[in-house]
Amino acid sequence: MMRSVLAMATGTILLALLAAGPVAAQDKPPLTVGAIYVGSVNDYGYNRSMKDGLEEMKKNIPGLKLIEAENVPETAESERVMEGMIQQGAKLIFATSFGHQQFAFNLAKTHPDVYFEHAGGWMQAPNFGNFFGATQSAWYPMGVAAGKMTKTNTLGFVVGVPIGYAIGNVNAFEMGARSVNPKAETRVVVTGGWSDKAKEAAAANALMDQGADVVTMHVDSPATIIQAAESREKYSIGFQSIEARQLAPKYWITGLGFTWGPFMTETAKSVMNGTFKPAMVREGLGQMMAVAPFGAGVSPDVQKLVTASADQVEHGFNPFTGPVTDNAGAVRIPAGQSWGGEKMGDFDWYVEGVIGKAK
């Protein structure tokens, strides 16, 4: 509650600043793009990945003007912030957090000449599209890395909120680990929120107490968990932004990061050319996702295995191909079937080898 009150206050200040800002007297930019973030762009996590993508777009299109607002809450406040950006001439808006969807959609209806791209949602309109990384299968090579590096055969996974997509990430991770190490187990701890740092530190410690020597996570910012692992000399695998490797100079293995730049550049160009087409874009490794550089302690053999696995996923390998058994022994994906696309939101079970309860 307090977070949102605070975020609302910050958002209001930002809006006031936007409204009061002097009108630039320079040449008219080819395109003005607005972007709203739910948190700070220095989080080594999700918001940083969005910021990096937008910066890449800005670099690719000379003269493009980017208006940004951080800490924009997932409330009606976000609608006012985006409205302010439109008044400043924004013709394309990236609403980067899941909860911004409805508010961006409202504006799409009242501003048919402004284009919107929302991260993670499903709504569609002639001027409203969606994009997100297909994260689940991309977690498979992370599991390969973890399965190779562990000595205790115990991997730890901190999950913020156990939504289907997050459970899918854990499942692919464990299946990847098992593919190279049949004894590997993944223990899961749920903190109940996407950003409660003190609890994340305690959760990482709990996993290490139970023998985990590789720790990874699906929360907004990996910073606290990676540092907790580093301080106990345990390996970590990052998620969200590939820049997180700076946090663990010794025990970083690798990580999974979003690479939004090419998509954002293409979208901006399509708006400039008048060829914008709304779509629900979900891309995995090679497009919207990338494997982070390896840490110093990862042997060339392991690096080769992980890279090969990532390559397979990039070229169509789907880990969720039956038979897949859950951790209670029931077959959930029968032989001959496979799960993909929107099915990824449907996980309410963990695969064999995961220690944890999904609901």
Binding site: M2, R3, V5, L6, A7, A9, T10, S40, N42, D43, Y44, R48, N71, G156, P162, R187, V188, V189, V190, T191, G192, G193, S195, D196, K197, A198, K199, E200, A201, A202, A203, N205, A206, L207, D209, Q210, G211, A212, S221, A223, T224, Q227, A228, S231, R232, E233, Q246, L247, I355, G356, K357, K359
Partner: protein
Amino acid sequence: MNFALAVGVVAGSILSGTSLLYATLGELVGERAGIVNLGLEGLMLIGAASGFAATALTGSPYLGIAAAAAAGVSVNLIFAYLVVTRHANQLATGLALMFFGIGLSALIGRPFVGALITGLPRLAVPGLEPGSVGARLLSYDVLVYLAVPAALATWWLIFRTRWGLGLRTVGENPAAAFAAGLRPQSLQYQALMFAGAFGGIAGAHMSLALTLTWDEGMTAGRGFIAIALVIFAKWNPLLAVVGALLFGGAEGLQLQLQAAGADVSPFIMNMTPYLLTLLVLILWGWRRQFAAPAMLGRSFVGVE
């Protein structure tokens, strides 16, 4: 219950109980002087942010602790001016202070989001093998080692010194204290400065020893748990140690149980600390052994 689980719960409750204990001790001293400060959450946030900022700037976490304590004292001086000198309503002022703290800490912390710091070093008992159970149980930062001595010292101050006697008198009956030649308002200022320093240190322990990052609103309600702990502790610093460990442990326990693979839904697990809070309040209410200072929450406006 496996051994690793037991070790983890003990170490975890000590780590997360420490900031709760400092915050509780500070609030307790203020309440002994008759002042309830609902702004503790904001105070802790300011401590966490300024401690982190000072550490990022100077490279020394110990200077970070000092900065957090100083920031806490300054903020509580504002609070003291309002409730002691200007006789403002304590509850309303406290809530205002909380929102002030949320905003100010965000402002202080903003340039330091994503900064990398070297946190408070773990001072291990010598001779323990790294990674062993002993090392997990006996290597903490300096604030952890000082927490129980701080509780003992607070107890001694309140119950064994003339200053403490004056403080308690002010909390029970400021008119009598005034008649006895004490200066109630001065004592309340002193108590709130003490509370500010401890509240600031409580926040600093979170950002400098636990999370090693600054995040807006990162205390996540722990300031309010500390206010509840003062009631739990019946305004006694020694009982506060028990309470802080218990509540620190409740959070640690559920995360440890999940890691150990307990067959319980994570949604129920995450409710345990709050269920425990409710349980304690129900039990305490039922026993009716309140020891609240008589003048708690009321202004002393002098005598005719």
